[in-house]
Amino acid sequence: MESLSNKKKVLEQKPLSFMERMYLPAIAKGMGITISHLFKKEATIRYPEVEREFSTNFRGMHSLKRDENGKERCTACGLCALSCPAEAITMIAAERKPEEKDLYREEKYAATYEINMLRCIFCGLCEEACPKEAIYLDGPIVPADYLRKDFIYGKDKLVEAPLEMKK
C-alpha cells in the first residue's frame, strides 16, 4: 500500500559479509572505541567533597534576610504564605517591644516562621511576593533527614546569621 506520510523506509536485511562474520574487525573497532574512553575526563563529581556548580538562578534553601544594621527584614505580612502554591509557609506575627528595636526593623515581626521543606517546591514565588526583600532562595540544597518533623524549618535555621557573626 502507498504510504501517505512518505516517511516509510524499507529496511533491507542483507546477509553478513565474510568480514562481518569473522567478528574480529568489528571487535577491534569496538575495543578501540572503549580504550579511547579510558583517556577521557570522567563525568563523576565526588559529591560530599566536591559539589556541582549551580547555575546563577538556582533556587535552594530559603534564608530570611537582615538589613544593613542587622535587623530582621520580615514584617510577617503573610504575602509569602499567601503566594505559596504548596502552602509550605506558616507564621505567627507579634508586636515589637521597645527594647527589641535593634532586632526587628519594623513594629511587626514574625515570632515564628516555619517552612515545610517537604511541601516546598522551590518555585520562588515567595521571593517574588515579598515586599520587604526579606526572603530569598539563595541557600544550598536542603539536606536529607530521617523524620518528617525535622523538615519543618523554623527561624533558627532560616534567619541569616547576625552581622558580627558573618564576619
Partner: protein, 345 residues
C-alpha cells in the same frame, strides 16, 4: 626426600596460593575500576584511598549475609558445588612455571610446584573439572533456572574444550613436549610461540574466554533469562566462592596463555639482564615480567567484557563448532606441513 625439599615446596605452595587469591581479590576491584574508566566514571573510591579496601568490604559483606540453603535442595551437593568450583580453580596453578630457578641462600629453588611431564594435559584436566562445580551447584539447587544455566555452562565448556585442545596440538607439534617448563624455556628471549602460532593463540584465547565463562561468552550467568544463573539459589559466601572462582580461573588462564604463547618469564634482553642482576634477582625479575604479562591479560579480559555484547546461544554454538574447530584443524594441518617441509630441507 629430605625435609628441606618438603619445606621448600610447602612455602612455594603457600606463596602461590596466597598470590593467586590476592590477585583474584584485586581483580574484582580492578574489574570495577576498569569498567568505570571505560565508561567515563570513577568506580569505587570510598573504602580507603582510591577505594583500595573495596575487596575487603565486599568480602565482609559476603560473610555477613544470611546463608540460605533451600529445603528442597540436595544439601551435600549444594555445599560441595562452590567448594569444588574454587578448588578446581586453585589447583591449576600447581604446574605453571612462575620463573626460572632462583639461587636463595646457596640453594637453587625451582619456582614451579610440580614439573610434571604432562603439564599441559593436567591443565586441561583441571579446567574441564571446573565445570563440575557449576553443574553440581546448578543441579543441587533444585531450581529450573539454575539447571538450565548449568546445562548451558556444561555444553559451552565441552564445545570449546575441543577447539582449545585442537589449537594446542599445533603448538605441541612445534615444541615436542607436554611439560610447561620446557615449553616456556624453549621461548627463550624473543622466540615467543605467539609469533609462530598467531592463529592458534587466537583460537586458544577465544576458547579460554568461553572456558572461564567471561563475556562475551558469559551465558551461564544472566539476569534476564535465568534470574541470575547457576548460582540463583546461592547466598552469602557460597555465592562469593562462585564469583571468586571465576576470577581465579581468569588468573590461571591468563597465566597459561602467557606461559604457552607469550614466553612466560622470558623477555628480550634477558641474557644481559641475567649477567647484570645475578642468579638471585634476574629470575625474580623474570617472574615480575611474567606477572606483568598476566596482569595485561587480565586487563584484556576486562576490556573485552566492557566492549562486546554477549553472543546468543546459537551463535555461541555456531562459532564453536563451525568456526573454531575447523580453523583449529586447518591450523594443525598447516603447522604439520610447514614442520615437515622444514625438516626435509
Amino acid at each position: 626426600m629430605d625435609s628441606a625439599f618438603v619445606i621448600e615446596k610447602f612455602i612455594l605452595v603457600a606463596v602461590i596460593f596466597g598470590i593467586s587469591l590476592v590477585i583474584a581479590m584485586y581483580s574484582t576491584y580492578a574489574e570495577r575500576k576498569v569498567a568505570a574508566y571505560l565508561q567515563d566514571r570513577l568506580g569505587p573510591d570510598r573504602a580507603g584511598p582510591f577505594g583500595i579496601l573495596q575487596p575487603l568490604a565486599d568480602g565482609l559483606k559476603m560473610f555477613m549475609k544470611e546463608e540460605i540453603i533451600p529445603t528442597s535442595s540436595n544439601r551435600f551437593l549444594f555445599i560441595a558445588g562452590p567448594g569444588l568450583a574454587l578448588l578446581c580453580a586453585c589447583i591449576g596453578t600447581a604446574v605453571i612455571p612462575w620463573g626460572s630457578p632462583v639461587l636463595i641462600a646457596g640453594k637453587t629453588v625451582s619456582l614451579q610446584v610440580a614439573d610434571i611431564n604432562v603439564g599441559v594435559l593436567y591443565i586441561f584436566g583441571v579446567v574441564s573439572l571446573g565445570v563440575y562445580g557449576v553443574m553440581i551447584g546448578g543441579w543441587a539447587s533444585n531450581n529450573k533456572y539454575s539447571l538450565l544455566s548449568a546445562i548451558r555452562a556444561a555444553s559451552q565448556n565441552i564445545s570449546y574444550e575441543i577447539a582449545m585442545g585442537l589449537s594446542i596440538i599445533a603448538l605441541l607439534l612445534m615444541t615436542n613436549t607436554l611439560s610447561l617448563k620446557e615449553i616456556v624455556d624453549q621461548q627463550h628471549g624473543w622466540r615467543w610461540n605467539v609469533l609462530y602460532q598467531p592463529l592458534g593463540f587466537l583460537i586458544f584465547m577465544v576458547c579460554s574466554f568461553a572456558e572461564t565463562n567471561r563475556a562475551p561468552f558469559d551465558l551461564p550467568e544472566c539476569e534476564t533469562e535465568l534470574i541470575g544463573g547457576y548460582h540463583t539459589e546461592y547466598s552469602s559466601m557460597k555465592l562469593g566462592f562462585y564469583l571468586f572462582a571465576e576470577y581465579i580461573n581468569m588468573f590461571v588462564s591468563s597465566a597459561v596463555m602467557a606461559a604457552l604463547y607469550w614466553g612466560g618469564y622470558n623477555y628480550p634482553g634477558m641474557d644481559s639482564m641475567a649477567v647484570w642482576l645475578g642468579p638471585t634477582w634476574a629470575p625474580l625479575f623474570g617472574t615480575a615480567v611474567f606477572f606483568g604479562k598476566i596482569c595485561a591479560f587480565i586487563f584484556f579480559f576486562m576490556w573485552v567484557r566492557w566492549t562486546i555484547p554477549r553472543f546468543r546461544y546459537d551463535q555461541l554454538m555456531n562459532l564453536g563448532w563451525k568456526g573454531l574447530i575447523p580453523l583449529a584443524i586447518a591450523n594443525i594441518i598447516i603447522t604439520g606441513v610447514v614442520i615437515a617441509i622444514i625438516e626435509k630441507f
